[in-house]
């Protein structure tokens, strides 16, 4: 991720923020960015292994968009970090599992294309709604990153929801398999709307997004597509949580060992 140009960001008078506020903002940014980082990593696993050339390219393109967004967030987080040596790279690659704030949904494996696309679909809907609010943030940097990302994520949403329609209203087998993925992954949706301490502090500052207000529209948005795709909207009321607090599923360690391998093996390596 090394780069000779710096992202043009400045907004909050960082010097005027208390240490507590800085810590909350830092954790808030990581909470947003880690979702995209881990989902991007999951999609990257499909590079060269997609079910068809077009979907392979699509997955890696979406991954690239997400990593691009992550870089902007992490560059900003590095400025806020109390650690003067923090860079986008150390934040991305040198944290331990418990320090990642992503939701459990994005770490779920690429079981088959049905699972991959349902995971994407369930996240894209949330991501889009979230960014549309974040672009109104009092924090100019976060608002700018959101404005830029919305354009990309709208396209991700279009891609994933189109595939839900195709698979759901496709063959008997595609219908069955995508339905299974929807039913299975449903239990990870509620966590998207959970709020950490940092989230609440940032909402109070007018910086963070009040996610509880997005919940209703989120379920409406995905249910409409599922119904159109002749799929059943699950009624499960049991939901998993923990990722936002750093308590991840078993998958997370494997993702990180893959993702961090180069930086851990060759510290400070650069391309």
């Amino acid at each position: 991720m090394t780069n000779n140009s710096t992202t043009d960001t400045s907004s909050l008078p960082l010097g005027e923020m208390s240490e507590g506020q800085r810590g909350n903002l830092y954790n808030y940014i990581l909470g947003i960015a880690d979702n995209s980082l881990i989902l991007g990593q999951r999609l990257g696993e499909l590079c060269g292994h997609g079910p068809s050339l077009e979907t392979d390219i699509a997955g890696t393109n979406i991954s690239l968009d997400l990593f691009g967004q992550v870089r902007s967030y992490f560059q900003y987080a590095a400025q806020i970090s109390s650690d003067n040596d923090a860079t986008e790279d150390t934040i991305a690659f040198l944290r331990i599992e418990r320090q990642y704030r992503n939701v459990l949904l994005v770490e779920q494996p690429n079981t088959d294309f049905g699972y991959t696309i349902v995971r994407q679909f369930l996240f894209d809907a949330y991501h889009l709604l979230f960014l549309r609010e974040l672009e109104k943030s009092n924090d100019e940097t976060l608002a700018a990153i959101a404005k830029k990302s919305i354009k990309e994520v709208s396209y991700h949403w279009r891609f994933s929801s189109d595939w839900i329609r195709r698979l759901g209203d496709g063959t008997e087998e595609s219908h069955e398999r995508v339905q299974e993925a929807v039913t299975d992954l449903w239990m990870y949706t509620d966590e998207l709307f959970h709020q950490t301490e940092a989230d609440q502090a940032m909402i109070a500052e007018g910086i963070g997004v009040e996610t509880s207000k997005l919940k209703e529209i989120y379920y409406k948005m995905i249910s409409e597509v599922l119904e159109e795709a002749t799929l059943e909207v699950p009624e499960g009321k049991y939901f998993h949580k923990g990722g936002k607090q750093g308590i991840h599923s078993e998958y997370m360690g494997y993702i990180l060992s893959d993702m961090q391998y180069m930086q851990r093996t060759y510290p400070n390596m650069e391309w």
Partner: protein, 171 residues
């Protein structure tokens, strides 16, 4: 390093810097200069150093690093030092591609962006408006929403059977 501006609302390029910037082309689309692409938002000379602000087409566009390096070396050839900054706001839009840029794209074999719905319409078979860059027919269909780079979608012509890239419309 961080005392920089977030918003560059209007493009501002000092006239004496234009020709050098026009000599730098997009590494993914060599026929297109970065000026025609609309990614240069500001170029000013301050105390002998050229300050250039560029904006990415897509957040993850890997060409941005190369573009930054190419600008620095283009100015170095003219014995000038250039510094590059990346700006995110306002976000790049395909409307910033110049008419000359659109023409260059088409001649190169990449259909220029039309409307945000053009590729969706093609996918759903509603309206066919994307023209084949080989034979000019609008009897084309969308093969993939994501193409060879983040900014392109893949189309195929039903008349001449040629596949071609369509520059996605970003507004």
């Amino acid at each position: 390093m961080h005392n920089v501006i977030l918003n560059v609302q209007t493009q501002h390029i000092e006239p004496h810097l234009v020709s050098i910037l026009e000599s730098v082309s997009d590494p993914e689309i060599p026929v297109l200069s970065i000026m025609d692409m609309g990614v240069v938002r500001e170029a000013i000379e301050v105390d002998g150093v050229i300050q250039v602000k560029i904006t990415p087409t897509y957040s993850g566009c890997p060409a941005m690093d190369v573009i930054g390096d190419d600008i620095v070396s283009a100015f170095a050839k003219a014995n000038k030092k250039a510094k590059i900054k990346l700006v995110l706001s306002p976000a790049w839009t395909t409307d910033w591609i110049t008419d000359r840029g659109r023409k260059a794209l088409e001649e190169y074999g990449i259909a220029a962006p039309l409307s945000p719905e053009a590729d969706k319409e093609a996918l759903l078979g509603n309206k066919k408006i994307v023209k084949c860059t080989n034979c000019g027919s609008t009897e084309t269909h969308l093969v993939s929403q994501f193409g060879s780079t983040a900014c392109k979608a893949l189309f195929k012509c039903d008349i001449c059977q040629e596949p071609f890239d369509y520059f996605k419309c970003l507004k």
